[in-house]
Symmetry: C2
Subunit: 394 residues, 2 copies
């Protein structure tokens, strides 16, 4: 029977955004970033890696059931080659079975639709790297694996850890210190929840890979953003350590806006947020204004990646209110609007309707509710996507 | 018969934006700005000032036919007091009739609807200041009058000149060098045209007065913007002097985007542009991409003030194409769509439809076509809005 490992890896959503590379082939960022790993029970990439001398020569890769060509010299091939090399060293040192010489079969699957607009490359590459490391019984630390995942897809390095994760930009030209590390484990602050608002957008967006390079080349404000980020990294780490949601929310929203500001300052300008996104911002700002006036501080934080979808962070006790608000202002198809009241809390009765546009059904297409989660998990054979080097159910 | 003067003054639209005050009572800006004065034949404020000893005591002001209270210590009152003081000095020096002691009657009227979203305070205050200066036969230069208009409404100082106008931020604490001046007269580059796209927006916007102060207080990127503006002022002045539209357009669009980027970087973020605005940007960028590939360089430049309306600058020879493009992509109610072709020029056949959202009728409510224009004009009695201190037709 083939040697195998099956891994699931989580999605992460940055609070301090990664935008801009100082080295495009090693994927070295122009600034450090920080993310929250989301719960794999809700969103995950699952990857099975197998190797066997009886497989036909050459590696094969399936993505969501479709075979993909592993381009020589491409990012996925680079990750595979580094890990295979580490296995080769291990075999030499310890006289192990030469798995590194066996053809590989890798199958990967995301449990969320591509249409959800969530970057699947982070969880996908993290699962790929961790599945090979497990298959090859590599002794390397998660930090060392994060160097490999980073070269597959920058933010993938953060998906190797659960909880609250920083990606340090590093200073070495070879990228050896551009590494991900855990700031705090999930259990330090397990009440952190996330509501992903999937926003309709007819327009073709700018890919993040090309967008961030255009910003590096043309935005004059980016240089200033880079001088601000270190202070933000330190403040938000502190907020997480102190479980200070008010401060966490303020920094998260500010950095999201700063990121989109440098996109707008790019030539030609890049817009990822649309009118629905803007209106979600207005809603969260209103929620926070009202809760602040009532002495609760900020209770929700929006953040937007390279698309119109909002991710709203809130602590568990407030998430019901946040979700009700989203459903109230952005009714989904087939969902009955709910009244804005929770345990006698009528906090939303004073919403300023003049600043809130009213959206028709479907402007927010669907919602995904999730929360802070753990890192990659090793799964059992029952969950393997492959059998004897072939896709199951195919 | 009452002494009187009737003045019309133009609207101006900035290419380098004024955003932020270093002194809110003197209205001293955090950066220099530069605008184009639009043609008064299209858009203007008309103001008649009269004074007569037989008028009942106290000054009166009508705005668009409605009486307004001149608040003591307010900005309008400040302008009137400065000009009256200058008249008083003149009377003392030259023994002139004591007009400064007579009650004033001032009527002002804009020929464009408030709904057009054009700032009427600039043309209105410029007309007020110039009408009093004319009524009082003041010897002060336009530059000196611009110091007074500035204190009424910052950008009003630029509406005292025709053509291409700079407002120098100045360095004096008393504002004595924060003055407007002509960079080039209208006749230097008379081919400059403007198309104002009035965009529907249901949402209440943030007023520019409160918005710019919030940016000064909360945006970290604003400080960086301020270091960039001097170079832009100098480059765009050079482009205007050389009649280099390609460079003019590039700087104008970049500065508009930089201004909206610092609005987005404000806490809470300020959005003036909406999805229709974004789509107008995409259209102009497409026009310029296509014209650039054909060797014409940029042929149009968008700029957005504190609202969703676009002003598109283009030289006369391209304005037909620009207008047709706007009508093609943003059909107005009651307007038949026109084919995208001009004198055999099929340049727009290659529009990338994937980046252009399609808008329904009315997303752009109406269009105002205009062009570079001259400064305030002295009008005759026929155009006077007042008769014997009373509104005509009232």
């Amino acid at each position: 029977m083939a040697h195998q490992a099956t891994i699931s890896a989580p999605v992460n959503i940055a609070c301090i955004k990664y935008w801009g590379k100082r080295d495009t082939s090693l994927i070295l960022p122009t600034n450090s970033s920080l993310s929250i790993t989301l719960n794999q029970d809700d969103l995950r990439s699952t990857t099975t890696a197998q190797c066997d001398p009886i497989f036909s020569p050459g590696d094969k890769l399936w993505l969501n059931g479709k075979e993909e060509v592993v381009k020589f010299g491409g990012r996925t091939a680079t990750c595979i080659e580094v890990l295979r090399g580490w296995r080769r060293d291990l075999e030499k040192d310890k006289g192990l079975e030469p798995l590194s010489t066996y053809p590989l079969r890798v199958a990967s699957h995301n449990n969320f639709p591509t249409a959800a607009g969530l970057a699947s490359s982070a969880s996908g590459l993290a699962a790929l790297v961790f599945s090979l490391a497990t298959l090859y019984s590599l002794p390397q630390s998660l930090g060392q694996l994060s160097l490999v995942a980073r070269q597959g897809s920058g933010s993938a390095c953060r998906s190797l850890f659960g909880g609250y994760v920083a990606w340090r930009e590093g200073t070495q030209p070879d990228g050896s210190d551009s590494i991900a590390e855990e700031i705090a484990p999930r259990d330090h602050w397990p009440e952190m929840c996330a509501l992903i608002c999937v926003v309709s957008d007819a327009k073709k967006g700018t890919s993040s890979t090309s967008g961030m390079q255009r910003t590096v080349e043309t935005s004059t404000l980016l240089q200033h953003r880079l001088t601000i980020v270190p202070e933000r990294m330190s403040s938000i780490s502190h907020a997480i350590k102190e479980r200070n949601f008010d401060s966490f929310a303020q920094i998260t929203m500010t950095d999201s806006n700063s990121f989109h500001a440098v996109c707008l300052d790019t030539s030609p300008p890049i817009f990822y947020m649309n009118d629905v996104s803007r209106s979600i911002i207005a809603m969260v700002e209103e929620l926070n204004r009202v809760s602040g006036e009532l002495g609760y501080g900020r209770i929700a934080a929006y953040t937007f990646d390279a698309g119109p979808n909002a991710v709203i962070y809130a602590l568990e006790k407030w998430m019901g209110l946040v979700e009700k608000s989203v459903r109230r202002w952005f009714p989904q198809e087939g969902i009955v609007e709910v009244e804005l009241e929770q345990e006698g809390n009528k906090v939303l009765g004073k919403f300023d309707e003049r600043v809130m546009a009213s959206w028709g059904k479907g402007a927010v297409k669907s919602l995904i509710k999730t929360r802070v989660g753990d890192g990659p998990r090793v799964l059992g054979e029952k969950e393997s996507l492959l059998k004897d080097g072939q896709l199951k159910n195919s």
